[in-house]
């Protein structure tokens, strides 16, 4: 393959697909891998926070009872904001956070039946994976833009991939694992790309469209300034249904919260023609004349599109201050956002998302492997450093990232909750463990020859996944059998997936070892390197 664009449309697209893919692959793999895990974000959360492993027996609660509990423990501290949330069977506990007018704040998870405070595990759990997926943990807006760039690049790669694939229908079911690495990795790249094309396209496009407000607001603010009414309308959160007002500074007794929440749910039930339950309840400036209550419902159980239902009540009079219903224009965006967030209760579709996400990871990994395998022989003569560099980046990006995720889970089960090192608490130490493992994987990939590095890192993944299950059992007594018997499928599911991961990684390592013994020169690939042929 030449480094220059070829003449003609298809060769140009081939060149673009190949080089754009190599450049963006690591970033795309991070986003796809974390996104795949986030399909089961709440399940991973519950695995990493053992105190939340409670059976989903009660899915309704009284905000007034929680407020009374807070007032009993802090009677003289006026509440500036109280936020409560419960998002259904996948996370049956109540999330509560309170901030006081004196600046203090507290947050905790509560048992839905007893309202007892659950033990507070110091972990970011799924939130860490979410932040990595959303903005790569980078400060400011740079991470957001990079992830959006990755989504655009994925769309570009999908479109160019379809253009350069010469035999889409003829090779629809073709996978030849027994062929040499170059051929088999291209087959795998083609089938995962073609068979999951609708999923990959929709997930990249929906990820991009979640932030459509950004793209539409930027030109307006830059061209017309913040004073423009149009710009203000677009840039403020009005279109998301937000309402806010300051504290009046005058004491006034707030109404009970429960009847207002029930009223909001009754309004939605009539409006949508189906029973509606609020996800989040937020009370502001309690016992103040400016007090108000926000009752919202974002994640529906029975459809993909987000709701964005939000009703604001005056806490002293009970009058509705704002009742947000999104405009028809926002409905496609709501569907795309709902499609991407996967918060609905449809388990078959959730599992298919997971399979589609894994297919995206395989698509990226096989693309990397094909690129390296296609160039290895020529690179031995011309540019060995370049291909070696891409190879070690690909190993660290793929098996390294998976192993780092295993280290993150192990750190969670191994470190005591009160652990601190150099001022970092356990939540930070878990993240350090993740990045340390990833860095070690990079060093290992640099020190070991290609196939040996792949194989050894596969063994590392197998060992880490197995160790995570055992450590969970030892530290909590919750082995998969016990969790299944207790009806807590989320924790058992994570354990069983870890066991599957361990088995698959070990099987890959054994196969790689066998191949290395049988055909030491297998990776040298084809001598025909001038053209990248997507399908022969």
């Amino acid at each position: 393959m030449s480094n220059q664009p070829h003449s003609g449309f298809r060769p140009s697209m081939t060149w673009l697909h190949s080089w754009a893919g190599v450049i963006i692959c690591t970033l795309l793999f991070i986003v796809c891998w974390t996104g795949t895990l986030l399909v089961f974000d709440k399940e991973i959360d519950r695995w990493m926070r053992p105190e939340t492993r409670i059976a989903a027996t009660q899915l309704s609660y009284s905000p007034d009872a929680i407020l009374a509990q807070i007032k009993a423990t802090a009677p003289d501290r006026p509440i500036a904001e109280l936020s409560l949330g419960q998002t259904g069977q996948r996370a049956p506990f109540i999330t509560a956070s309170v901030s006081f007018t004196d600046g203090g704040s507290a947050s905790s998870n509560l048992h839905p039946a007893t309202l007892a405070q659950l033990h507070d595990s110091k972990t970011q759990a799924g939130t860490f994976l979410y932040m990595l997926h959303r903005n790569l943990l980078l400060p400011g807006v740079y991470g957001w833009w990079l992830v959006m760039f990755a989504a655009v690049a994925m769309l570009l790669l999908l479109i160019t991939g379809v253009i350069i694939h010469r035999k889409i229908f003829a090779d629809f079911f073709t996978f030849r694992p027994e062929k040499q690495l170059r051929r088999s990795s291209l087959d795998l790249h083609n089938i995962t790309g073609v068979l999951f094309l609708p999923f990959h396209f929709l997930i990249a496009f929906s990820g991009l469209m979640i932030f459509s407000g950004w793209y539409t607001s930027i030109p307006w603010t830059e061209l017309q300034g913040e004073t423009s009414k149009t710009a203000a309308l677009i840039t403020t959160a009005d279109k998301y249904g937000d309402y806010a007002r300051d504290s009046a500074g005058v004491t006034a007794r707030s109404l009970a919260l429960d009847p207002l929440v029930k009223r909001a749910e009754a309004i939605w039930t009539v409006r949508h023609g189906a029973p509606a339950i609020a996800d989040y309840v937020s009370a502001y400036h309690l016992d103040d004349a400016g007090g108000y209550l926000k009752v919202s419902r974002y994640f529906p159980e029975n459809r993909i599109a987000l709701n964005q239902d939000a009703i604001f009540f005056d806490l002293t009079t009970g009058k509705i201050l704002a009742d947000f219903t999104p405009s028809a224009v926002r409905k496609p965006q709501q569907w795309l956002a709902g499609f991407h967030f996967v918060q609905y209760s449809h388990w078959p579709l959730r599992w298919l998302y997971f399979i589609g996400g894994l297919a995206a990871c395989i698509l990226i990994g096989s693309g990397y492997t094909f690129w390296v395998a296609s160039r290895r022989k020529q690179a031995a003569i011309t540019q060995p450093a370049n291909v070696r560099m891409i190879e070690l980046i690909s190993i660290a990006s793929i098996t390294g990232l998976i192993a780092a995720t295993g280290a993150f889970l192990i750190a969670n089960r191994l470190l005591p909750n009160a652990a601190t090192i150099a001022g970092a608490d356990r939540a930070q130490l878990e993240i350090w463990a993740f990045f340390a493992a990833w860095f070690i994987a990079l060093i290992h990939a640099a020190l070991r020859p290609g196939q040996a590095a792949w194989r050894e890192q596969c063994w590392a993944i197998a060992a880490l996944a197995c160790a995570a299950v055992l450590l969970n059992w030892i530290s909590t007594g919750d082995h998969p059998g016990a969790m299944l018997a207790a009806g807590i499928w989320s924790v058992a599911g994570v354990d069983l997936m870890l066991i599957c991961t361990s088995a698959i990684a070990a099987s890959c390592a054994i196969r790689l070892g066998r191949k290395q013994q049988q055909q030491p020169d297998q990776q040298s690939g084809s001598a025909h390197l001038a053209q990248l042929e997507p399908a022969e």
């Binding site: 694992p177 999951f196 297919a359």
Partner: protein, 102 residues
């Protein structure tokens, strides 16, 4: 007692898988693979394509009738991708398991 929703889902899964296998076996190279090289051409290829397509349409109907268009369409598309991948993997690793369909 198996819930009706699960039955519809299993029917969608089965018909989608059956449809993918028949469409694959309408191609001579896969037919040859499954028959162990005995068949050089795919017998009744047109019939397999027709029945395969009908099975995929049945899967689409099962998905939409039970889940509505909002869930049903993505469910069908991703189910199709997954069962097609399963077909490709079976053809690659255990092709003789599909002899029944030849």
């Amino acid at each position: 007692m198996i819930p009706t929703t699960l039955l519809w889902l299993l029917l969608a899964l089965g018909s989608s898988f059956g449809g993918c296998v028949l469409l694959a076996l309408a191609q001579a190279k896969h037919c040859s693979l499954v028959s162990g090289g005995y068949l050089a051409i795919a017998p009744a290829a047109r019939l397999k394509r027709t029945v395969g397509t009908a099975l995929l349409l049945l899967a689409l109907f099962c998905c939409i009738s039970q889940n509505g268009a909002s869930f049903g369409l993505p469910l069908f598309l991703f189910l199709l991708g997954s069962t097609a991948l399963l077909t490709a993997l079976l053809l690659a690793i255990r092709p003789y398991w599909l002899r029944l369909f030849v």
